[in-house]
């Protein structure tokens, strides 16, 4: 059976204001404000970060190995997440989660963490320097920042098969999980400039496969940095996705992709639709058509709309679950929920968008944009429509439009609060989070696959965690119950 689809989701938040209006300073202020409240102060450990290693096994001549910045604020939270400054953005990387709905909770926890950090920071700043944070992916002026997903995949899966299976999904899933955007900002080429796009990110993609994340962004990213045992695991790093405000969209984005990966692992390429002849063009064409009626030519000679691709992929996932079960992704009830929502949202965007405006971000956003434009007879390029777009993603409760459109939630306030304070139980994030929570003074640093202890005398001691599915509550909770100090814990671990 397919290995468990451990999931992580990382979001770079948009940021404005701060001292000197400098986004790098503002991002540092945000991360430090959270740390200074005693909510985190553990350093991130850069051992094992190899973002320049290419899954294709070759170093692309055009590839710039991403630079790991070590001097910027960088912390680990008690829930096992990482909160840090990435380039010029505050970023929250969720802990490793065992199921899509668990990842939804920890993604929502990230929103609250950033909102609180924003409040803490603004308590110390002059009003004119107030920092505002946005969970979006573009500034409307040609600058994009990411919301990345990570999935645990067996190393035995050929990378070429991942590309073959996932390109049709990644070009088309935006009609269900896109966050929507007013206007266009990149070179839309032959396309008329669209008034509204289904996705924030689509027009920033220029290649089908590649290593980069900031230049010539590829639909499939080849970064081979498993953060675990490289003999057994791949970590599929997905950079083509929008940050969602709708928790249902996050659930379907993660759940659908995880199910398709499990299907690929268990039954190969059977049932996956043929790819578009020109995937990059398909991404952009699909984004620029909110009527979702446009079809593209595929390598099997057929034409398909984004809806057609998603329909075939849903059917494949549904069959896979009925034949193999969806145990690699979640318990049966959760898998059924994911499939049902994916189906409803897919049919809804085609047949009755209003019916899914409480779950599909781009539909929810488009309704307000269209309603406001019609009410006041505005032109398509009116700044107020772009302000609506921006404020859909605004983390300030008084300014957020996403908070006012009636989006359904999957995680209530209590569930989100516990996801801020406690790590997931069923991955190694449990061990990391518990260590950070219980022994903050004894930890020198931590990262995805190890925790480094500093017991005051002698060398630092690294506890490696090469398997994302170990270090769970089931395997280690008794160690935390019976060992009240870091020294005892390390002794019990045999260190």
């Amino acid at each position: 059976m397919a290995i468990a689809k451990v999931i992580g989701i990382e979001t770079e938040f948009g940021i404005a204001g701060g001292p000197d209006q400098d986004p790098i300073i503002a991002s540092s202020v945000i991360v430090n404000a959270y740390a200074q409240r005693g909510l985190t102060h553990i350093n991130w450990d850069f051992e094992g970060e190899t973002p320049g290693v290419d899954a294709r096994g070759i170093a692309g001549l055009t590839a710039f190995a991403p630079i790991v910045e070590t001097q910027l604020a960088n912390t680990v939270l008690a829930n096992g997440a990482r909160l840090y400054v990435d380039h010029a953005h505050p970023e929250y990387s969720s802990p490793e989660c065992r199921t899509p709905l668990e990842a939804v909770r920890f993604d929502a926890a990230g929103e609250v963490v950033l909102r609180r950090a924003q409040d803490f920071a603004n308590d110390t700043l002059e009003p004119a320097q107030a920092i505002t944070i946005y969970k979006n992916n573009s500034d409307g002026k040609g600058n994009s920042y990411g919301c990345h997903e990570n999935y645990l995949v067996a190393r035995s899966v050929e990378f070429a098969d991942l590309v073959r299976a996932l390109v049709p999904h990644f070009v088309s899933r935006q009609i269900v999980v896109g966050a929507g955007k007013v206007g266009a900002e990149g070179e839309s080429g032959h396309l008329a400039r669209p008034a509204f796009q289904v996705s924030q990110r689509a027009e920033f993609f220029e290649e089908v496969v590649g290593l980069e994340t900031t230049l010539k962004r590829p639909i499939i990213n080849t970064r081979d940095e498993p953060h675990g045992d490289a003999e057994r695991f791949r970590r599929l790093h997905v950079i083509i996705g929008d940050a969602n405000l709708s928790q249902y969209a996050t659930a379907v984005k993660l759940g659908a992709t995880a199910l398709l990966l499990a299907a690929l692992e268990d039954q190969g390429l059977r049932g996956f639709p043929a790819a578009p002849r020109d995937p990059v063009r398909a991404v952009r064409i699909f984004a620029a058509d909110p009527t979702i009626a446009t079809a593209v030519d595929c390598v099997d000679g057929r034409t398909r709309t984004a809806w057609d691709f998603q329909d075939e992929l849903w059917t494949l996932a549904d069959r896979y679950v009925s034949e193999h079960g969806g145990g690699a992704v979640a318990e049966p009830d959760e898998v059924r929920f994911i499939l049902d929502q994916w189906r409803e949202m897919l049919d809804g965007v085609r047949d009755d968008p209003d019916a899914v405006a409480d779950r599909v971000d781009w539909v929810a956003k488009k309704r307000i944009v269209d309603g406001y434009r019609e009410r006041y007879g505005l032109g398509a390029d009116d700044a107020r429509l772009r302000a609506i777009d921006l404020q859909y993603h605004d983390l300030r409760p008084g300014r957020s439009l996403a908070a006012r459109v009636g989006l359904r939630r999957l995680a209530d306030d209590d569930a989100v609060e516990s996801a801020i304070l406690e790590p997931p139980a069923s991955t190694r994030a449990y061990f990391r989070g518990q260590c950070v929570k219980r022994f903050p003074g004894a930890i020198a640093a931590a990262n995805w696959d190890s925790v480094v202890f500093d017991l005051g005398d002698g060398p630092l001691q690294r506890v490696p965690m090469p398997d994302p599915l170990r270090g769970t509550a089931e395997l280690t909770a008794h160690l935390f119950e019976t060992n009240s100090t870091a020294i005892d814990l390390l002794s019990a671990l045999g260190g």
């Binding site: 770079e12 948009g14 940021i15 404005a16 986004p23 790098i24 990435d86 380039h87 010029a88 953005h89 970023e91 946005y134 573009s138 500034d139 409307g140 002026k141 600058n143 994009s144 920042y145 990411g146 990345h148 994340t213 900031t214 962004r217 950079i239 002849r277 020109d278 063009r281 064409i285 009626a293 446009t294 079809a295 593209v296 030519d297 034409t303 709309t305 809806w307 057609d308 329909d311 209003d354 405006a357 309704r367 307000i368 309603g371 406001y372 009410r375 009116d382 700044a383 107020r384 772009r386 302000a387 609506i388 921006l390 404020q391 008084g398 300014r399 439009l401 006012r404 459109v405 009636g406």
Partner: protein, 64 residues
């Protein structure tokens, strides 16, 4: 072929569906419209006062 893409209004019913006769529920549509109208009524209090400046000043460095 000059244009690769074509506009297609596909309304293919999936074979597993039995396509039941669903009475049109106008009350739901009206409720949705009323909710949107309520939001549009209050939205000016939520939107930044100077949209032009607010949008112009929002400039990010690329990330990732």
């Amino acid at each position: 072929m000059v244009e690769q893409e074509r506009i297609q209004k596909q309304r293919v019913t999936r074979p597993t569906e039995s396509a039941p006769e669903v009475p049109v529920d106008t009350s739901k549509g009206e409720q949705l419209k009323a909710d949107l109208d309520d939001l549009l009524d209050e939205i000016d209090e939520v939107l930044e006062e100077n949209a032009e400046e607010f949008v112009r000043n929002y400039v990010q460095k690329g990330g990732e």
